[in-house]
Symmetry: C2
Subunit: 357 residues, 2 copies
């Protein structure tokens, strides 16, 4: 296809308090008494108010996931999938991901691995998934990644960090309840929000841009400004929409230089996607001059200080590893430079960038 | 449900020239050699270039539809459905609507009536459809109605003009090719585009508004301004996105006073939706002062003159009929006034409005 046939989340609920409708939504999937649901939930909600609001039936299974210290891995996905298989000989009628991008990506990946044998590392790449996933629902409690709208589940595998990209990865349903993101700690709120801001800039400045991505990207960016510069009273609602629309924008275009550099940081040094993007973006003035300038205003307004001199004194071989990861992101660089990107994305250029981080 | 679980078109293609991918999209639906496709196409394309580009196989059926003189009717839907049934004992693997809002709505309605017995008038209303439709694809060749994104197919029935509103009505696929709208006659381009402008205003000024509808409505409105006030070089792409996003905006909110008044004009006097909306909007200064002002700038810029004094000398009983239709649009008035709308939407108020048209 010359133009992507873009698979979109087919059902969505938006509204303050709409989390309460999860029970009703799941009731449509539960056909018999033994039908069970799997909740993949960010550990941060354990023992908190949200745990009590999860409409868990006796036969259901909750998988609490740690996503604080490292990005989701293929190993983690396979272990979670095995836990579901140990719970029942049948598949669940739905897998519900509750949390930020990592928890939602884990839920997507588990729903795929329940119907596609052989372990998740086998499916890292594009359109390698053979069978439709188990019904899966995404409920963001941190906003910015766009994971709720995307056709990927980003995983660190034995060889590289790469998503399970497929139409089957897309959620069957999302519930966007702005009340859920009100209590996110400021740092995480900021870093994850900046993921949205940054991928909109990358999308809007990229060669892949069309009017579809542009309309979504521009609106998302405008909402980000209302949230992070104007401190708008409706900022939770706006950030949730910004994240969704940002996801829609990149789904039809592509991210760019910042994500490529950030992937290297994430894979080699373990930096989380959100903060990794911020650290990388801060040295990309030449790529995105206006965007980086505005980003620094946002940093300042929210008193966020980024770690500095992270790579300055690292051994050459560590830098080389990161350069290799960043360089392997072909489509991202194609989006940045258009055809002929291979000549522009040199080891020297990337080494110089990393050394400034 | 307190918040709508909004069914969205799950697959979409956007791009100049993407109409050529229709064959490839349909190939995924054709499983055996006898599988056939039904094309519901606006008669305006017959004998024109687009006809030759339709990927019609020998077993396929093309239904050319006149939608110039009147809005689609339940009778027309039932006749078209019978033509499909006469063509084969099996159902088609896809029904493809190519044209403006009317042609697309006819395609939606036929795809529904092939699996739901008893005639389309029976299903005018909300969620009366029992069975999933035949796979159906929407391809706009005129932009503005938002029919490509909506969960309704608006039909004039024996008793009233009312849509087949259901999740099953939503297209399974849309193809948005801005090249297709380049050759629309100016009047039609303008009136249909104003449908989009107007329902965004109604959505943004309504009591049903949330941040989802707002984000979509605001972006759609901005795109309309670029198209109709700035005459932007990418205006075809922009209008196509405005229409889609406008449709997304009202799907999660509601239209308002203009559509209610326009429904009366359409049902009793046969005015097409687009021009009917324009005529109605022009007397709604009290409801939408800023919007009506800007709309008149657009009229002026494009030298469009609206018919005047249409209702001035009509018999009282004709006016009463229109008032009755407009008044029956409860949800629209609820969106305008909120609770207690019944006391505000009086025969006197509506009669006075119509007399000024």
């Amino acid at each position: 296809m010359s133009f992507k046939n873009f698979k979109v989340v087919p059902k969505l609920i938006f509204g303050r308090g709409s989390f309460s409708q999860l029970d009703e939504v799941l009731a449509e999937e539960r056909k018999s008494e033994n039908d069970f649901v799997v909740y993949v939930v960010d550990k941060v909600h354990q023992g908190k108010e949200l745990e009590n609001r999860i409409p868990k039936k006796e036969q259901d299974l909750t998988l609490w996931v740690y996503v604080d210290e490292e990005e989701p891995t293929t190993k983690q996905v396979d272990e979670l999938t095995n836990q579901v298989k140990a719970h029942s000989n049948n598949n669940p009628v739905s897998v519900v991901g509750i949390g930020g991008g990592s928890a939602m990506d884990l839920a997507k990946a588990v729903s795929l691995m329940l119907t596609n044998p052989g372990g998740s590392a086998k499916y890292q790449g594009w359109d390698l998934i053979q069978n439709p996933a188990v019904h899966h629902i995404g409920i963001p409690t941190v906003s910015g990644t766009g994971a709720e709208a995307s056709r990927t589940a980003v995983l660190c595998g034995p060889e590289r960090k790469l998503g399970l990209n497929s139409d089957y990865t897309v959620f069957d349903q999302i519930i966007m309840d702005p009340e859920l993101i009100a209590s996110v700690p400021t740092d995480q709120w900021f870093y994850t929000g900046m993921d949205c801001y940054i991928h909109c800039i990358e999308s809007l400045e990229g060669t892949y841009l069309n009017e579809f991505s542009k309309a979504y990207g521009e609106k998302s960016l405008e909402l980000c400004r209302q949230v992070f510069l104007e401190d708008h009273p409706e900022k939770d609602d706006k950030l949730m929409m910004a994240s969704f629309m940002g996801g829609m924008s990149i789904a039809y275009s592509q991210v760019g230089a910042c994500h490529a550099v950030s992937y290297g940081l994430g894979y080699v040094l373990g930096y989380h996607h959100g903060i990794g993007n911020c650290i990388a973006f801060d040295v990309l003035d030449e790529f995105y001059p206006e965007g980086v300038k505005e980003f620094r205003q946002m940093l300042k307004k929210h008193n966020v200080t980024l770690p500095k001199n992270i790579c300055k004194d690292l051994p050459d071989e560590t830098i080389q590893k990161m350069v290799k990861v960043a360089k392997s992101m072909g489509p991202l660089w194609h989006n940045v430079y258009g055809d002929g990107w291979e000549e522009k994305v040199t080891d020297e250029m990337l080494t110089e960038l990393y050394r400034r981080i």
